[in-house]
Symmetry: C2
């Protein structure tokens, strides 16, 4: 049951006091950025939020995301007010081992995702709201507390745009316009109208409100809840450090505990011990998609099929077997071939347009709700969302990224479209899986396996057709590899498009009496370390070849596998060492010295060199 305005004002003061206390105990943190939003949160938890904190897994629960993750003292003070944590734990903030990290992470339930890199909470909230409406088909609401500084992030406007376009009336953004950034006033300061105009231009309803007037806040939330057909933003004028003269509305008070916490707490009327029974959600069960069954695609040996095509066919087939699989694309579905999914399962496909941050964020939001998203665009353009991928790992998120059109082998379109740093960047993400199949058969098996793979998975697909070399009954697995050509004079470790070139080189070397083993490293992380070491042991010399920059890709993965073992081998890395231009795929592979000619040359030289 909601309380009266006096209670809510008191609750706001308690949230301020606890924000000060927890930051003081930590010796760091952002109390002033918490104090500005305290009244907004007090009214939210007392009568609007519907979240069973005793059962964070209740599928009908509302979601509360602190996009301004640095207001973690407030977030944890809320958790205490709703009895999700006790006061003792509140004071462990930022200490080693505490669930209350400097910025919220899912280590403390019911936190959905890690925030703290600004501009991510709202786009992820859009993904959760999309899941609520189109997948779960449950009436839960997504509340996102946003800062005003983060309104400068383009990703916020991707979120406003997408939510406005979808008319997500189950999403409410609460903008804490406290005017002050880390070093200066924000661009808009307290120009609430400026925010309202921008937000409304993107199809939302925007309500300007005094963020310290609990009655006005109540009215705004009620209006948000009653609004149909469009999302609502509460644009709240607030004061940083509200209620404590030494810091209220003062510059230079960002991101530090108060100098005199005792005095500040006294000024706020002292500690309180109010607790709130947060409203329970109406019971509800998530929608279940029908799974008619069927088979994964299989490809005949020797068929020429692009791995991107196999990707599309496989996710479409997989969704017939698994109700949890969904697909999202950045308006290139006829290139990535997620169009096959879209056509087969339009109710589980989401067009995210050319907005890669929102694309990935929507995937993160949907996996919060237990869905298994396959998120596709050109591999080069996943770099646009790299910070979202980084943060998703901290969120312990589980989803699949599919990047097509990798490397110089795309040909004429030129370097802007060629992913050459994708393996390096995603391989460095904690707990990631990085795959690059060389044929359609491998692709089908790996794409299916990724549905059960924890963490962030990346599958790199090819524009060009490649011949199917993997038999339907062959073992293909994450962490595996296959020998595409037998030999023990020299090993060639290839991946993706270069596998074909490696086989051609091996055939040419065989004509000259050199027996080259070709290892198809379709799994780059984890790499098949045993197969790599066996290659070193048996062959003594290794050529690695990849359509990628020399740093951080297959070559480095091979060196790492060798370093971790006892085998020694000469390793020559072939990779793309100059900025490519346009040309045919063959010309560009040749120019980059990663084609059969270059591989055969490098292998020949290694064989001629005494080990």
């Amino acid at each position: 049951m909601a309380h009266d305005a006096d209670f809510r004002r008191e609750l706001g003061q308690q949230l301020r006091v606890d924000s000060i206390r927890t930051s003081a105990a930590a010796g760091s943190g952002h109390p002033t950025s918490s104090m500005s939003a305290a009244d907004l949160m007090a009214v939210l938890i007392d009568g609007h939020l519907r979240l069973d904190y005793t059962n964070p897994d209740n599928p009908a629960n509302d979601h509360l995301i602190f996009s301004k993750g640095h207001a973690s003292p407030l977030y944890y003070s809320v958790l205490k007010a709703v009895s999700a944590i006790d006061d003792e734990e509140l004071l462990t903030f930022r200490k080693l081992g505490s669930r209350l990290e400097g910025h919220p992470t899912p280590r403390i339930p019911p936190t959905d995702v890690a925030t703290g890199s600004l501009g991510q909470g709202l786009p992820i909230g859009v993904g959760v709201a999309m899941a609520g409406r189109s997948l779960d088909k449950l009436p839960y609401r997504v509340w996102v507390l946003c800062g005003d500084s983060e309104m400068a992030e383009g990703s916020m406007w991707e979120a406003f745009q997408h939510a406005g376009w979808e008319g997500l009336d189950n999403l409410t953004a609460i903008i804490d316009v406290n005017r002050l950034g880390q070093t200066r006033e924000t661009m808009l300061g307290w120009d609430l109208d400026g925010y309202v105009r921008r937000i409304e231009a993107f199809g939302w309803k925007a309500i300007a409100v005094d963020g310290h007037d609990v009655e006005a806040i109540e009215a705004a939330y009620a209006e948000a809840e009653a609004t149909k057909g469009q999302p609502v933003a509460i644009v709240a004028k607030t004061m940083k450090g509200r209620g404590v003269k030494a810091v209220e509305n003062e510059l230079g008070k960002h991101g530090k505990p108060l100098d005199d916490p005792e005095g500040a707490i006294a000024e706020l009327g002292g500690e309180r011990s109010l607790s709130v029974d947060v409203a329970q959600p109406e019971p509800g069960t998530p929608h279940v998609f029908e799974t008619p069954g069927g088979e994964l695609p299989s490809y005949a040996l020797g068929d020429e099929v692009a791995t991107r095509k196999a990707y599309g066919e496989t996710i479409a087939a997989l969704a017939n077997l698994r109700g949890d699989v969904v697909a999202l694309d950045g308006e290139v579905s006829n290139s990535t071939h997620s169009e096959d999914f879209r056509e087969a399962h339009p109710d589980r496909y989401f067009e995210m347009f050319i907005a890669e941050q929102q694309l990935v964020a929507a995937g993160v939001g949907m996996q919060v709700r237990g869905w298994t998203p396959y998120v596709s665009t050109f591999a080069a353009f996943l770099s646009r969302a790299y910070d979202f991928v980084r943060m998703a790992a901290i969120s312990r998120a589980k989803f699949v990224l599919s990047g097509s059109h990798a490397g110089v082998s795309i040909g004429e379109d030129g370097p802007s479209q060629m992913a050459l740093e994708d393996i390096a960047s995603i391989r460095a993400i904690h707990g990631s899986t990085v795959l690059q199949p060389s044929d359609a058969q491998q692709t089908a098996k790996l794409v299916a396996a990724l549905a059960d793979q924890d963490g962030i998975s990346f599958i790199r697909t090819l524009r060009a057709k490649t011949p199917v070399r993997t038999a339907p009954d062959e073992d293909v697995r994450i962490g595996g590899s296959r020998i595409a050509h037998e030999g023990d004079d020299v090993a060639i470790i290839a991946t993706g498009i270069t596998l074909d070139e490696a086989v051609k080189a091996a055939e040419r070397l065989a004509d000259g009496g050199v027996k080259a083993r070709v290892l198809d490293a379709y799994s780059i992380k984890p790499i098949d370390a045993e197969a790599v070491r066996a290659a070193a042991r048996d062959c003594g010399a290794i050529v690695t070849v990849e359509d990628h920059a020399p740093e951080g890709g297959l070559g480095d993965a091979v060196l790492e596998a060798l370093a971790a073992g006892d085998e020694q081998a000469h390793v020559v890395k072939l990779a793309v060492r100059e900025i490519p231009g346009s040309g045919t795929p063959e010309e560009l592979l040749h120019g980059a010295k990663i084609d059969a000619d270059a591989i055969a040359d490098a292998a020949q030289k290694l064989v001629a060199t005494p080990a």
Copy 2:
């Protein structure tokens, strides 16, 4: 001299015909996306653009950026119409060795930057316009042709926001609203009012216009040129494939040459050979900043100084010596210490707020004009602009990125603020330089050296103070290293914060009779391969230790240096292998097993292992 409307209509048709011809000759490309904007460009080059194509280096030239880089057939057709290239070269489009790549790059003057990853041209144009107003102090105008699909990119709204806030009236965006994306209609379709509302909400003037009415376009450009105090967007309703029935306003015609180019050319009235004398700019000379001289900072041995502080002090001093140095920050200047520059040189400092894509894009734009930008934020948040860094390399851009607060050693703030993938991701960028000094003295020398370093440089700075171990007169250089502790039983290669830990470990090992060499790899790319190999030769075993993910960082750089040589060594990589939480820096370094304890353990084990 500008021509009449009939000429301009004819010129528009010529640009269409040439766009079709060049795509047909290439067998690929985006003629329909070119045809929609042909009239817009015809009017622009005939009377509005002021650009001496015979002298692309004329500092008074206007700038024309194709943010929709896939309209390269139109761009190159414009270059032919202004006699910058001839018809023969026009037909080399997308062929190996041609300057006319699939998407524009600076290989063909006067192209400023590579485009083709959507949503980048406008933010870079903002940077050029900022340079025009605040650095060069020249009246050149920046014209940016934007697509409507790319209006979905958040980076576009960072650009609208920043340009609106700065009131950049030397910037004109031309939005080619042809309604159709790659696979479907855009979110707004032909809702010109929707674009106008959004753009105006960000402080611009927006003019809706029929993009095929040359007289209306003329009026709109004239109004843009006459507008003071705010940037102007021309929101032009156009048709994709305009003028050719088979493709005009049709879905499914994106990114492919026309089926019947001959027929299409006939339908457009055949080939033409109009040429345009583009208006010359008024002569002008860029502003020169005064350089009072002075010294770079120097630090006494044993002083405790954070490298981020040395960064700020050095760029501030460097600007007294070099008039080309400018600084930009993402509203964390008191953390990165670019505030030292801001205070000393407010006329060369640019506050970019929490909008990292626009932050980096502004740096790219300023270096187009010959300035040397130092661009800073938390290293973790540079990941937000990773696609801009990738594209900047293709633009052959030269600037410095400074990322502070790297790794677990920042402590309490937790993983969202900890860059752990930055070295890997930036090391994979073509031609990049990656540095991580361990002390203030190194920082000062390296920051100064980077002003003359080609390509994209990244310097990773530390939150915590570290002791100065490098003497003022020591040689510190890109590609260098220093031995911080002598020994030949085992080598420890460290960088940044781990150098201190490595020295502590070496001292502890010395107590046990083990002589450890500590190599300070302050230059990670290029790494001092000779010093690494000498360590392998002399010591036989190497421990690498970094406050970074295990993949793609220092450890991999060391393995790569060894692979390229004849020396063999056991290498153990110490790196951050679990997602960190909050804690003190010491606790987190210990927990990640990259502190002195872990290093000494690893070294001890290696020494005990037979080589």
